[in-house]
Every structure is written in structure tokens, then in C-alpha cells.
């Protein structure tokens, strides 16, 4: 007969401390847990209004509530079951204070944008848990061991997991990690903490907690699984985390599967116990449901890890988080507390019964609500259903946060009988807050503060065959404008306003309500489907009587039209605040791996003397940044679309399948584009989003220089990217027509027509100067020539056409669109040497600059 009775916390052999003191400690420590739970509910209710929204709610819960609970209760179980000596009196209190200070620092630091504070907090949290684990180990060594010795092993491993996972978290929040690592380490961090810190603690605790909750005896043969499952789980988790961090998909998947197998093994006694005595109270059902979600989430996680590339796992497992956090961890935590709080708060059998009854109040409804809501949250159901499910879930979990403090206060001898006035005030306050919330909702675009909110106007807008009707809407300033948008065409359209408000993509016959917000200034609207705007799907919202804004807008337009008709005055002066694109080419940075961040933005640039033109750019300039490296170098580009339309990237310098890296990403999205520069050359990169004619024609191009292995050092190096200038509203019909006719308004070196006439490049006689040239087009190439100079070196498209010791010389470097190369020359004497595209139509229309050669 090896079955044993276990009573946690009521063991008659362990009265090393007066129960009063212990109850008081538990009341305080669990009050902290409950406070964090309440904050979790508040953070979730606040939704997107908080900074770093989903992160904050997740970490308030896991780091605040769960980590506090684990530290408090693992110590309790270890000392109670292993009959360990109680730790020094000051330790739990100091630990509690330090842990929560660390947690607060992590949360506040990350939310307020002080990564250093957050990292400091992470260090404290990791340190406290490491200390806690060390104390457990030390105490356990002093103890005699016994039947429950395995428990400390589980807790030790879970503590180590938090040290690893917390360190990863600290690294992530520090923001020093390059993009590609961030995704992988996020996945590793989440797995370590969820399955290690939380998972191992729960599995280890359930061996004894579960029979106690069911008020039955521990089934025979628990020790076997309890001992065998741990090494398996740790091996699986280690493999999974290492695989995730290193980007080895199959290792990671195998690790998750191994961990899941270990979890199943550890749950064998769990199932056997449940068959011996069916769950019959709230605590047991919540624990059982929680464990069910744990197993379900593990299976789903294994599938995701096995089928997704490593850098996508962090994003792909996001839908699982509600299952793990609310379904598994939340229910296990609340289930455990429902059972444990009455036990530790004590006060005699009658008080225990009363507290238990209070905590279990409505448990059937609550448990049913949570477990019915969770599938709705995880599945792709309509938004309203999902929001309703979240509300139900939150209410059901929050009910415990209301019940538990009452229980704690009662146990401290404080009876809570709220006065009817207080209840009325609370009820009325909640109802009023709800009404105010409804009243304030729906202000789509952030209204300018202080702007008078006038009437609300609703206007019907019809999206037709390449036309938006009405084309102009006149409103009073301060009008709250609502557009009732419908699509009468046979193909999909949408409507986006310049303030960011937009409809979803509307199929034929569909309609949507677009809340434009309070209109204080004129604003444009258009269809974002590629090419539709150029084809005429534009509209304007004009503000009556706001003469200031209107005039500014008017002259702006007048400007563009003037440029469209009048020829450019290339000999005019550049604006005083104009800065030339830096043509000087710096040596390749050391190292064989280059991390580059490129952001697509839409800005205005001075493209010719006195002419400002909206351009689409990489990193705010057209051309974009110059990348330079050596053969074999790896470039990792983190590309973010900060514009208003889809953009993409295409690096000619690397060979790879274009499908994923060259895909178009929508505004606000990012991608990572990694390529190895296997071949030397002067390579073009450009936006990969169709129509590329427009994207390149509006400035989305740049150069990648990969040095040939034998490249000799020279005195000066410059890079010139030649492009074409199309004036007018980007994407407008007139501009697109000019592009199609290959009729640019001007040609540009490095984004400004005749720019280097005004900011000459410099050299001294006798110096060897190398000029890299890339022709971006989109429609014309170049014939690069320096007036008065001869080239003794020509390198074009990966090969030397001419070297200094050859007999001949060269006069021009000819490049078709998207070709590149370099030339070298030694200026014979001081003087002003124009450099041009020797196609004279180009040279006389902007493809012109000056080398000012001066004696030192």
C-alpha cells in the first residue's frame, strides 16, 4: 500500500512558524498577485490606447501576476512538502519587494521608452529568481530528501528557464539586437518562459497539488513519471529554444515535440488521479481545463514551429497566446488560488469553508464562459464576435479579482458589507462611464485638439469605373465628416484619405462607412489599388472659408503646373537649405556582415534649382543610401514601409528567389531581405512593387557597390546614380503618361538635376579619381563622360574593359538602364571639368555637374 495522503499547508508536522504569521504573509504576497491581475484586466480593457499595447498586457500578467505567484508558491510547496526549514525571516519580504521593483521597472521602462530602465528591471527580476532558486536548492540539500524530492528539481529547472528567458527578454527590450535576431529570439524568449518557467512549475506542482485539490490520495507510481519526465522536458525545451534562436526549424520542432511528450508523460498521474476521483469543485475543473488548453496549445505550437521559417514563428504563435495565457496559465493560476487561498488564510475549519465557498462563487458560469470564449478568440470569427468573446473572458477572469480580495480581507478580520450608497455610486458610475465611452467612440482620425467640433455630415461616395463621385466635397471647418462609401464598379476599390482613415477593400456592390474625423484642413482621398489613382480615382475634401490653408494649397498646385509647362531653369539658384546628395563614396565598412535598415517614405525633395517635388524614397532621399561591401559579404536589410502605399525591394547585387524577399509590403509592415554579394559590380537596387515604372520614376532606386577583389586604392572615390525626373503629382495621369512616353522633365545625377553644378565635386591635379556610375533609368541609360579628361580604367558590369597599363584610353562609360560600373581618371591640371551624360538631350537637361580641380 503505497498510496499516501497529502495535505498542503495543514501538515501537523510542520509548525515551525506560527500560522498567524504565515497567513499574514500569504495575505500580503497574494494581494500583490491579485493587484497585478487587476492591472492585467485594466491593461486589456484599455486595449490599444496604451503604449506597446499587447506587450504590456502580456507582461503585466506573466511578469507581474504569474511570476509573483510562482515565486511565492514554489517556496511554499517546497518548504511544506519537503519539510524544509523556513528561509530567513527577511528573505521573502526583501525578495517580494525587489522582484516587484524589477517588474515595475521593466514595464514602465518599456512603455515609456527608456530601454535602459527596462533592462535594469530585467536584470533585477532575473537576479531575484536566481536567488530564489538558489535558496530552494540550498534548503533542499539540508533536508533529508524524501518522497517529494523531485519537486525541487522541477522548480530548479523552471528557475533556470526564467534566468535564460528573462535574459533573452532583457536583450530584446534593450533594442540593440539586429532585426533578424529579434524575431528568432522573441520566439526563443516566449518558449523558454512559457514552457520552462511556467510550464515546468505547473507540471511539477500538479503531481501533489492535483490529488490534494481532488481530496483524494496520490495514485501509485507518481515518482516514476515525476523523475523521468523532467530530463525529457528539459532536453526538449533546450533543443527547441536553441533551434529557435539559431534558426534551425527541425531542431526546434523536434524539441517542442519532445517537450510535449514529456508533458504528456508527466500528466499520466494527472489523468489517473482524475479517474480515481472525478473533479467535483471549481478549483479542480479550472485546473483540468487549464491543463487541457496547455496540451492543445503545445500541439498547435509544434505544428507552427514545424511549418514556419524561424523568423516568422514569433508572429505565427501570436494567436496561441490567448490559449496559453488565459486558457492555461490564467485558469491554472485562478484554479490553484481558489483552492490554496482558503487553506493558507486559515482561521479554522468554519472560516476555511466560508472562504472556499466565497472563492468558488459562480465557478460553473465562470469556467464555462472562459472555455467557451477561448475558441472564439483563437478562431477566425467576425470582429464583433471576437470582441464579445474577449469581454466575456475578461469579465469571467476579473470576477476572481473581485472575490479574492474580499476573501483576504475577511481572513484579516475585516468584514466587507458595502453600504447601499457605495454600491449605487459604483453602479451609476460604471453605467455613466459606459455611456461616455459610447459617446466618445468613433472619432476615427485623431481630431486636432482644440479644434471646434461642428456638425456631423454624412456624404455618399460612389467608387465607379476609375472615378470617385463626388470628386470634391466642400465642408465647413470643424465638420465631423462621415463618408458612406459604396463600390458600384465590377472590380474592387477602396478609399483612403490623406489623414490615414480608409475603408477596407470593397468588392463590387459592397459598401462601408468611413469616419473621416473632424475636418480642419483640405485633404485628398484616393483609391489605393495600384494604378487606380493615376487613372483618375482621386477626390478632394475642401474646407470652406479656411482661406489660409486654401491659398497655401492653391499656390502649391500653381507651382507644379508652372513647372509642368515652363522649361526648368537649371541655371537658377538652389534653395539656401538645399544639401547635395553626398557623392563621396566611403570605403566598405569592415566585417563581412552588414546590417542595414531601409525605410520607404514619401517626402519632398529639391530635384532641380528651386523646384520641390514629392518623391518616393528609401531612407528619405532619392537615390537611397549607397551600400558597399566586398565579395562574399552578407547584407541583411530590414525594410520598413513608412509610406502610404505598398513598396518592396529588389537588390540586383544578390541572387535569390524573389518570391518572399521582393514581395510588396503594405504601410506599417516590415520584412527582412538578406543576400550574399557573390559577384563584384556596381549594382542597382529599386522598389519591386509594380508598376515599377512609377516607383523607380518617382525616386525609389539606389546603388550597391561590391568591390572587385583586386580593387586598387585610389585618392578619391565618388558614386553617381543617374535617374530621370518626372514632375507633377506622383502617380497622376500626366506624370504617368510622361513616363510611358519616356519623356522626363530632366535627368539627374544623385537626385537633383544640375545639382553638382551648384555643389561641385572636388579633386586635385595628379590625383587618381574613381567614379562609380549606376544608371537607374527607368527609361534611359547613360554615356558618362568628363569633359577634358580621359579614362585609363573602365570597369563595366563585372569586368574591366580597360586597365591603366593598356595602351588605349576611354572617353565614355555606356550603361543601359540598371547597369553599372566605374571609370578612373587623373586630372592633368587645375580647372573646371564638367561631367555629363554625353547623350546631349540628357546633358543639357540636367545630367550635368562639375569637377572643380584645384591645387592644394
Amino acid at each position: 500500500m503505497t498510496s499516501t495522503d497529502v495535505r498542503i499547508g495543514t501538515d501537523p508536522h510542520t509548525p515551525p512558524e506560527p500560522p498567524r504569521r504565515r497567513a499574514s504573509w500569504h495575505a500580503r504576497a497574494n494581494a500583490v498577485v491579485l493587484a497585478w491581475l487587476a492591472l492585467t484586466a485594466a491593461a486589456m480593457a484599455a486595449g490599444d490606447h496604451l503604449p506597446v499595447a499587447p506587450w504590456l498586457a502580456i507582461h503585466v500578467f506573466l511578469l507581474g501576476a504569474v511570476t509573483n505567484a510562482i515565486v511565492t508558491w514554489t517556496e511554499h510547496f517546497a518548504t511544506a512538502l519537503l519539510r524544509l526549514p523556513a528561509p530567513a525571516r527577511w528573505w521573502p519580504v526583501a525578495r517580494l519587494a525587489a522582484l516587484n521593483a524589477g517588474i515595475a521597472a521593466v514595464l514602465l521602462g518599456a512603455a515609456a521608452g527608456y530601454p535602459a530602465v527596462a533592462v535594469g528591471g530585467a536584470v533585477v527580476v532575473v537576479g531575484v529568481v536566481a536567488g530564489h532558486t538558489a535558496v530552494l536548492i540550498k534548503q533542499a540539500r539540508r533536508a533529508l530528501g524524501g518522497r517529494f524530492a523531485y519537486l525541487v528539481n522541477w522548480y530548479t529547472c523552471s528557475g533556470i528557464a526564467l534566468v535564460v528567458g528573462g535574459t533573452l527578454g532583457g536583450l530584446l527590450v534593450s533594442g540593440v539586437l539586429p532585426g533578424v535576431w529579434e524575431e528568432r529570439l522573441t520566439a526563443a524568449h516566449a518558449h523558454t518562459n512559457l514552457f520552462g518557467w511556467v510550464g515546468l512549475t505547473v507540471l511539477g506542482t500538479l503531481f501533489t497539488l492535483w490529488p490534494t485539490v481532488l481530496r483524494t490520495r496520490i495514485v501509485d507510481g507518481v515518482a516514476g513519471p515525476a523523475r523521468r519526465a523532467l530530463p525529457l522536458a528539459v532536453a526538449g525545451l533546450t533543443l527547441a529554444v536553441a533551434g529557435l534562436a539559431a534558426g534551425l526549424r527541425w531542431a526546434a520542432a523536434a524539441g517542442v515535440v519532445l517537450y510535449a511528450a514529456a508533458a504528456v508523460l508527466a500528466l499520466v498521474p494527472f489523468v489517473r488521479t482524475a479517474r480515481q476521483r472525478r473533479p467535483h469543485n471549481g478549483a479542480a475543473w479550472m485546473l483540468a481545463a487549464g491543463v487541457g488548453w496547455f496540451v492543445a496549445a503545445l500541439a498547435a505550437d509544434a505544428a507552427i514551429v514545424a511549418t514556419r521559417p524561424p523568423e516568422e514563428i514569433a508572429g505565427a504563435v501570436e494567436p496561441l497566446l490567448p490559449l496559453l495565457l488565459a486558457g492555461f496559465i490564467g485558469q491554472v493560476l485562478i484554479g490553484a488560488l481558489t483552492f490554496l487561498l482558503p487553506v493558507v488564510l486559515g482561521g479554522g475549519p468554519a472560516a476555511l469553508k466560508r472562504t472556499a465557498a466565497l472563492l468558488e462563487q459562480g465557478w460553473k458560469t465562470r469556467t464555462a464562459a472562459v472555455n467557451a470564449a477561448l475558441p472564439l478568440i483563437a478562431l477566425p470569427v467576425p470582429t464583433w464576435a471576437q470582441q464579445a468573446a474577449w469581454a466575456v473572458l475578461l469579465t469571467a477572469l476579473a470576477a476572481f479579482v473581485v472575490l479574492a480580495p474580499v476573501a483576504i480581507l475577511r481572513s484579516r478580520g475585516r468584514e466587507l458589507t458595502p453600504s447601499p450608497t457605495a454600491i449605487g455610486l459604483a453602479l451609476g458610475g460604471v453605467l455613466t462611464a459606459l455611456a461616455v465611452g459610447v459617446a466618445g467612440s468613433g472619432f476615427g482620425a485623431p481630431a486636432e485638439t482644440g479644434a471646434a467640433i461642428g456638425e456631423t455630415r454624412t456624404v455618399d461616395v460612389v467608387l465607379g469605373d476609375m472615378v470617385i463621385d463626388p470628386g470634391v466635397i466642400d465642408v465647413e471647418p470643424g465638420t465631423e465628416l462621415v463618408l458612406q462609401v459604396s463600390n458600384s464598379d465590377t472590380q474592387p476599390h477602396d478609399l483612403r484619405l490623406a489623414n490615414g482613415a480608409h475603408t477596407p477593400r470593397l468588392g463590387p456592390g459592397e459598401s462601408a462607412t468611413l469616419e473621416a474625423g473632424v475636418v480642419t484642413e483640405p485633404m485628398e482621398g484616393w483609391c489605393t489599388l495600384m494604378g487606380h489613382r493615376a487613372a483618375g480615382m482621386e477626390m478632394r475634401i475642401d474646407v470652406d472659408g479656411s482661406s489660409g490653408a486654401d491659398t497655401a494649397e492653391g499656390t502649391d498646385h500653381g507651382d507644379h503646373q508652372a513647372h509642368d509647362t515652363a522649361p526648368l531653369n537649371l541655371s537658377g539658384e538652389m534653395s539656401p537649405d538645399w544639401r547635395p546628395y553626398d557623392a563621396e563614396l566611403r570605403p566598405a565598412p569592415g566585417g563581412t556582415e552588414h546590417e542595414i535598415e531601409i525605410t520607404a517614405t514619401e517626402v519632398e525633395q529639391e530635384v532641380a534649382p528651386g523646384v520641390h517635388q514629392p518623391v518616393w524614397t528609401f531612407n528619405g532621399t532619392a537615390p537611397g543610401p549607397v551600400l558597399r561591401g566586398e565579395v562574399g559579404d552578407v547584407f541583411t536589410v530590414t525594410f520598413t514601409n513608412d509610406g502610404t502605399m505598398g513598396h518592396g525591394l529588389d537588390f540586383h547585387a544578390g541572387a535569390l528567389a524573389p518570391d518572399r524577399p521582393m514581395r510588396t509590403i503594405e504601410p506599417g509592415q516590415s520584412l527582412t531581405y538578406q543576400f550574399r554579394a557573390e559577384q563584384a559590380g556596381a549594382w542597382l537596387y529599386h522598389c519591386s512593387t509594380p508598376p515599377m515604372l512609377q516607383h523607380i520614376g518617382n525616386g525609389m532606386y539606389g546603388a550597391v557597390i561590391v568591390d572587385p577583389p583586386d580593387l586598387e586604392p585610389v585618392d578619391r572615390e565618388y558614386v553617381l546614380v543617374q535617374g530621370e525626373l518626372y514632375l507633377g503629382e506622383p502617380g497622376s495621369e500626366a506624370q504617368v503618361d510622361a513616363m510611358r512616353a519616356a519623356a522626363p522633365d530632366a535627368w539627374m545625377f544623385n537626385g537633383t538635376a544640375a545639382g553638382y553644378d551648384h555643389a561641385p565635386l572636388t579633386a586635385t591635379p595628379g590625383e587618381r579619381v574613381r567614379i562609380w556610375v549606376v544608371a537607374a533609368g527607368p527609361t534611359s541609360g547613360t554615356s558618362f563622360h568628363i569633359v577634358g579628361a580621359q579614362f585609363d580604367t573602365v570597369y563595366k558590369e563585372g569586368a574591366y574593359l580597360l586597365r591603366p597599363d593598356d595602351d588605349g584610353g576611354a572617353q565614355a562609360l555606356d550603361l543601359a538602364p540598371a547597369q553599372g560600373g566605374f571609370v578612373e581618371t587623373v586630372f592633368p591640371e587645375a580647372g573646371t571639368y564638367p561631367f555629363v551624360d554625353h547623350d546631349m538631350r540628357h546633358a543639357e537637361n540636367g545630367a550635368h555637374g562639375i569637377f572643380q580641380v584645384k591645387e592644394n
Binding site: 453605467l431 455613466t432 461616455v436 456631423t456
Partner: protein, 145 residues
Amino acid sequence: MTLWTVVRFLHVLSAMLWVGGQLTVSLVVLPLARRRLAADQRGTMLSAIGRRFGHFTIAFFLPVQITTGVALAWHKGVTWASLAEPGYGRILAAKLALFCVVMVAATMHGIVVSRGRPTLARVLAVTSLVTSLGVVLLATALPAT
């Protein structure tokens, strides 16, 4: 000073009397009655106040409030559809919904008092008072133009 000024005045005046009356009863009359009156006297007195207030509500407050409110909304060009729109429409809709809550709470208060459940009656009275202040808050949030 137009006819609409008068209509708006009536709307505000009636609301003022109702909310102000509740506040006066709760903050002035009730505490004094508890201190100065014997239990049986207090019961008679308070139920008389409650009845009088109920009559005032049905005979004056509700008719005036609803008539002037509908008229003002009509004058403003409010339609059923516009109640769903953000801004004026939605604030007004929230205000109307909260007003219904006030009326439900006040009615239930009357019923519960007559059935002799003082605690619940007190809860409902305070709820009604707080939510009616909420209605005033939303009324002041309505854009003036």
C-alpha cells in the same frame, strides 16, 4: 432670443428641477430626516416625498423633457440614422440611452420601496442619481453649434 431659446430653457429648467430635486432629497432631506425624525414619522414623510416626486416626474418632468427634447432634435436635423454617427449623433444616442437607464432605475426604486426593501431601494436611488448626473455631463458634451 427666439422661440427655440424658450424651448431650450424649458428643457434645461425641467432637467434642473428633477436632478436638483433628487440631489436635495439625498444630500439635505434624507440626512436631516434620519437625525431629526422618529422612525415612523420618517417613513411617512419620506414616502410622501417619494410619491410627490413621482407625480412631478410623470405629470411635468417627462412630458416637458420628451416634448422639448424631440423638438430640439428635430430643429437640429437629427435623424434616426444620424444617431449612429460619431460626434453629435452618438453623444446624443448615449445620452438618451443613459436617460432610459435613469428612468428604469427610478421606476424600480418606486416599486422596491413599496415592497419594503430599503437596501435595494437605496442602491437604485443612488444609481439613478449618479446616472442622471451622467446625462447632464453628456448634455454639456454635446457640441453647441
